[in-house]
């Protein structure tokens, strides 16, 4: 059965079966990484254009490696120096790339909905690598993959997501992914960063609390979000020191969770702000596993969008 989606724009539009399919496909790709030849010929001759309208090292490198390990040719558009600075619209840039016959467009954009606009305009497969405050689907898929690797199943897990939910595309994609797969999601942060609508917008298995203790009580996963430190200027919290005191994950707070609770973070970390170093580097941290798994999951996504058979 072919994977029926042309694009991967968000987790919202995926069924639990779709998600299962991606995770299932990613597993054998991961076994490649321990071999001396880490490459399969699956997407030989395909071209992947990486359009990053926002700086990113980790996600872009991960997609580049995913493409390389599938034998596709990836090229990064250095957006800073390219047409956008000359005022070319997103759709025009995309149409030009389309005219160059690229097969995939991986887009990271500061504006919510930009990948959707792109997908409507081109035949190529569009993969959302993070759009504004909307979604970051491959991040959520790699997070699920990591959770399942460590916890064997997603169903019934208690996952606390702590931090700036309001501005987080990682949070939104994870909320969709986790609730579709049967986990319970607790969102935690100061009320300025965790709007009440997050409960009504995403359904019954999502709860909101302003107390980290409550969020971590019985938690299997502590998912810490990166804090954009410039948010302080929008009156969203008074100081980094206060933020760390109430919401930064340190050993004292982590002890409120289950003994085998894993610690996750999408990176890059602000050590000493949303997460304390002993926790980030401690035995419960799976943060670097997330990075490894990201490549396998992105390989699976490209493979399936290209019509790959499992």
């Amino acid at each position: 059965m072919p994977f029926k989606h042309k694009d991967l724009l968000g987790i919202e539009g995926l069924s639990p079966e779709d998600i299962e399919r991606i995770l299932h496909t990613a597993a054998p790709f991961k076994t490649l990484f321990t071999r001396s030849i880490k490459k399969v010929p699956t997407l030989r001759g395909k071209t992947v254009a990486l359009l990053f309208y926002e700086p990113s090292t980790r996600t872009r490198t991960s997609f580049e490696l995913a493409a390389a390990r599938l034998s596709a040719d990836a090229m990064s558009l250095n957006v800073d120096s390219s047409s956008i600075k000359k005022g070319e619209s997103l759709v025009d840039t995309a149409l030009n790339l389309e005219a160059m016959k690229v097969d995939f467009m991986v887009v990271r954009h500061s504006v919510s909905g930009a990948p959707e606009l792109l997908a409507k305009s081109v035949q190529a497969h569009v993969i959302n690598a993070g759009d504004g405050n909307h979604e970051h689907p491959t991040q959520a898929l790699l997070d699920l993959f990591t959770m399942r690797e460590k916890k064997k199943k997603i169903q019934g897990l208690n996952v606390a997501i702590i931090g700036d939910i309001l501005h987080s595309r990682v949070a939104r994609s994870n909320i969709w992914a986790l609730t579709k797969m049967g986990a319970n999601v607790r969102l935690c942060g100061p009320a300025t960063l965790v709007p009440q609508e997050m409960r009504s917008a995403f359904g019954k298995s999502v709860s909101v609390t302003y107390q980290v203790k409550e969020a971590l009580d019985g938690a299997d996963v502590a998912y810490v979000l990166r804090l954009q430190t410039e948010r302080q200027l929008d009156h969203l919290f008074p100081s980094l020191r206060e933020y760390h005191e109430f919401y930064g994950l340190d050993a004292r707070k982590l002890a409120w969770a289950k003994k085998d609770c894993i610690v996750m973070h999408p990176g890059p970390m602000n050590r000493g702000v949303e997460i304390a170093s002993p926790v980030a580097d401690g035995p419960q941290s799976v943060i670097l596993d997330q990075v490894t798994n990201g490549i396998a999951v992105r390989m699976a996504v490209m493979y399936l969008l290209a019509g790959g058979k499992v």
């Binding site: 504006v111 919510s112 405050n133 909307h134 609508e197």
Partner: protein
């Protein structure tokens, strides 16, 4: 628009005239730019042109009190010529145009420019609205008296509303000197900041910055308080929330000189239209929830909302084809207002034809002290004929822009004749020079 027309007899139509409470089959004779006679079985003298209006509604010329004609400065979106052509096609004989042009209509020569262009190129009457503050910057009052004398009919900093309550108070008081109404777009700029759609579940899911409903009704409440203080005439435009309707209803009960309007999109659509990042559903104020839509409908039915305005806001296709957060606010409306009013308000919600016609004729004429808005012998010969049964699909536009969320929708009710100053400017969907 110069009158060179011969006499016109509009025969056998159903005349609906809220001012004169006329609601009957009658003939209307127009001579020399004036309404000459209204009655049964008028005999046309030889040489009188006759328009057979049997089965149709004959109403005072429709007035849209809130449009953006974009000239001067943004002629790629609309001009006075194309915007007034769209108005004529939609059945409007007059429009009041907002001052947020480039540069803003904030002095006598800008007002004169618009009036001059309207006289030479316009298809319908154009009433310029002048800015309240210079450059719409919210700092210094414009020369309100001089602009009024030059022909500006109202004041507004539409799009960039005056945040400073003291300055707005002074504007209301000073405008009161000339009995010129102030129109306010109610918005708290700081609460609104960078918002692009209604704040709620959908904005949370889409990851778009929300505009809380409070950003509107906080300012509605402030404005009502300032109206109480000054007793100056105030018109609140394009209201979108249920709380705004309730505040206006209460203010009117207390006898304050307040009028208000809403737009067809607020009584027809909800924020659900934004799903999929549809930029054609992006406007300011944003589309709200179903409860708000119902409250606006109730407000129109009980008369709390006096008028309906289109907030016709043309933008180029390229601008509306951008990312949702980047695309400009606004939709066009002159050519769909009548269809939406008849389809949504009269057919679906049982609004009487008389009350519906009042929102586009007598009510805006009174709110802005305009001539017309009624069919009284001796008054200006601005008349619209509407076919209430015509079913049509929204497809093409006479406006220079086509940013409408209603494309593809089938509406029932359409203007078939627009007469300005006794002269036919649109007949059966065709513009006449």
């Amino acid at each position: 628009m110069a009158n060179g027309a011969g006499p016109l007899l509009i025969r056998g139509g159903h005349v609906v005239d809220p001012r004169n409470k006329r609601d009957e089959i009658a003939d209307v004779l127009l001579v020399d730019g004036r309404i000459s006679e209204i009655g049964r079985s008028l005999r046309p003298a030889t040489g009188v042109e006759v328009y057979e209006a049997a089965g149709k509604l004959v109403t005072p010329g429709l007035i849209d009190m809130h449009v953006h004609l974009r000239e001067p400065g943004q002629e790629e979106k609309e001009t006075i010529a194309t915007g007034t052509a769209a108005a004529a096609m939609g059945g409007f004989t007059a429009v009041a145009c907002m001052p947020n042009t480039v540069p803003a209509l904030d002095n006598v020569s800008q007002i004169q420019f618009v009036l001059m262009k309207a006289r030479s190129e316009g298809h319908v009457r154009v009433y310029p609205v002048g800015a309240i503050t210079k450059g719409q910057e919210g700092k210094e009052l414009t020369e309100i008296g001089a602009m009024f004398r030059a022909g500006c009919v109202a004041l507004s900093d539409d799009g960039l509303p005056v945040a400073n309550s003291n300055l707005f108070r002074r504007a209301l008081e000073y405008a009161h000197t000339f009995n010129i109404p102030v129109i306010d777009h109610c918005e708290d700029a700081e609460l609104f900041k960078n918002g692009v759609m209604n704040e709620g579940d959908l904005s949370s899911r889409l990851g778009l910055k929300g505009i809380p409903r409070q950003a509107e009704y906080i300012v509605v409440a402030r404005n009502i308080a300032l109206c109480e203080l000054t007793h100056a005439r105030l018109h609140l435009t394009h209201l979108s929330t249920s709380e705004s309707v309730a505040l206006v209803r209460d203010a009117k009960k207390r006898g304050l000189p307040i009028t208000a309007d809403t737009c067809p999109h607020y009584f027809t659509l909800t924020e659900d239209a934004v799903a999929g990042y549809n930029t054609l559903a992006k406007m300011n104020p944003p589309l709200r929830r179903e409860e708000d839509r119902q409250a606006l409908i109730a407000g129109l039915l009980d008369g709390t909302m006096d008028t309906i305005a289109s907030d016709h806001a043309p933008h180029t296709f390229a601008q509306k084809s951008r990312e949702f957060s980047v695309a400009p606010f606004g939709i066009i409306g002159l050519e769909t207002t009548v269809g939406l009013l008849f389809t949504e308000m009269i057919q679906k919600h049982g609004m009487s034809v008389m009350a519906a016609i009042r929102t586009l004729t007598e009510a805006p004429a009174q709110a802005l002290n305009l001539p017309g808005g009624h069919l009284t012998v001796g008054s200006i010969a601005d008349v619209t004929v509407i076919d209430p049964k015509e079913r049509w699909e929204v497809k093409t536009f006479t406006s220079k822009s086509r940013n409408s969320p209603f494309v593809g929708r089938t509406l029932t009710g359409k203007a078939v004749l627009t007469v300005v100053d006794g002269k036919v400017v649109m007949r059966d969907g065709k513009l006449l020079d």
